[in-house]
């Protein structure tokens, strides 16, 4: 408390300190790791049920890449990766709600995959030269894999948007998913992205990253004569706040599936 009786807020950043100790840095990494975990788990659902064999393997190979990124990010925060990935309470997860959606319709998975991987390419880019050096190394490695993911997503999307059936089927899904995907650029509670930029953890603020991402998505959809509506149509009907620890209705089932083996045998090892 200061002498006005108000709680003191720590805003100053120790310039010589460890960038990982900048307030909010670890929460941001945790949020990105949780995104990757949920996306990886959800994409893995497609094993053996993809629309054709090659797509089956592609989605699940990308799933393993995303789980690898989750593992690398959790590894920046501690040694017990399983405990971080599987052992927390639902309100302790910071994933964006779009990553929790099951998307068991392939078109939904494709649209979410495109929105997520374009978003990732922007945010990994903003972290590639991070002053938190091990985070920068994870980001640079992930960027290399991201190029393959984007080639897969944009290759299919561009092709399908050249057909009437593709336009009729996919564009309404963008109306539904694009506003929700904006949550990927929300800051975790108590995380000041200005402070993270000032400390060199990130190259630019999350709002700036969101704008870059929206430009990329807008450009990709322009040939189909479509501009995504980014605003949430009805905030009451679709409460966001995944980064604040609020879980969507889909999280419980997703998490139960993730921990199914561990709950049978807590000492299980892969």
């Amino acid at each position: 408390m200061n002498d006005m009786g108000e709680p003191e807020r720590v805003t100053a950043i120790e310039p010589t300190g460890d960038p990982a100790d900048v307030p909010g840095a670890r929460d941001l990494v945790l949020a990105l790791a949780d995104d990757e975990l949920c996306i990886g788990q959800n994409l893995g659902w497609w094993i053996a049920v993809g629309p054709f064999l090659e797509e089956d393997l592609a989605l699940t190979s990308i799933s393993q890449d995303e789980l690898g990124h989750a593992r690398a990010l959790y590894g920046l925060l501690g040694d017990d990766i399983d405990a971080m990935a599987y052992g927390r309470e639902p309100y302790e997860y910071l994933c964006a709600h779009i990553t929790e959606l099951p998307c068991h319709d392939w078109a939904e998975t494709l649209v979410r995959h495109f929105l997520y991987d374009t978003a990732e390419s922007v945010r990994w880019g903003a972290l590639a030269d991070s002053s938190w050096e091990s985070l920068g190394a994870v980001a640079r490695r992930a960027l290399a894999e991201e190029r393959s993911h984007l080639r897969h997503a944009t290759g299919l999307l561009d092709r399908l948007l050249r057909t009437d059936a593709g336009i009729a089927h996919l564009l309404p899904l963008f109306d539904q998913l694009a506003p929700m995907a904006c949550g990927l650029f929300d800051a975790p509670s108590g995380c000041s992205d200005e402070a993270l930029v000032a400390a060199g953890v990130m190259a630019c603020e999350l709002g700036n990253q969101r704008a870059q991402w929206q430009d990329i998505v807008g450009e990709a959809l322009a040939p189909a004569g479509y501009q995504p509506q980014w605003a949430v149509a009805d905030p009451e009907a679709a409460p966001l706040g995944g980064r604040a620890g609020r879980r969507s209705p889909h999280f419980a089932a997703l998490h139960a599936e993730m921990v199914e083996v561990l709950s049978i045998d807590p000492s299980a090892r892969w």
Partner: protein, 90 residues
Amino acid sequence: MKTYEVFLKRAGKDPFAHVGALEAPDDDLALSFARDCYARRSEGEQMWVVAREDLLVADPTELQMADRAHRHNDGTFLRDLRQVGNAEPA
């Protein structure tokens, strides 16, 4: 969908080897699927993906060489000849 043939080359002196085929709607997606179907565990450090329709395919009848015994020399003729030669002075 078009059919593509996939070739991988491991690090070192191994040559490119055929690893399988896949179907894809276009060349870019063929490269994308080839990575996920055949190279996701670092099975190769270089990859060729070729549309099957672009392959030059030989006439199989030109490859039927099984009845040309003179191309399947197992060395016994020469061995027998030498043995005869060696035996002569005795």
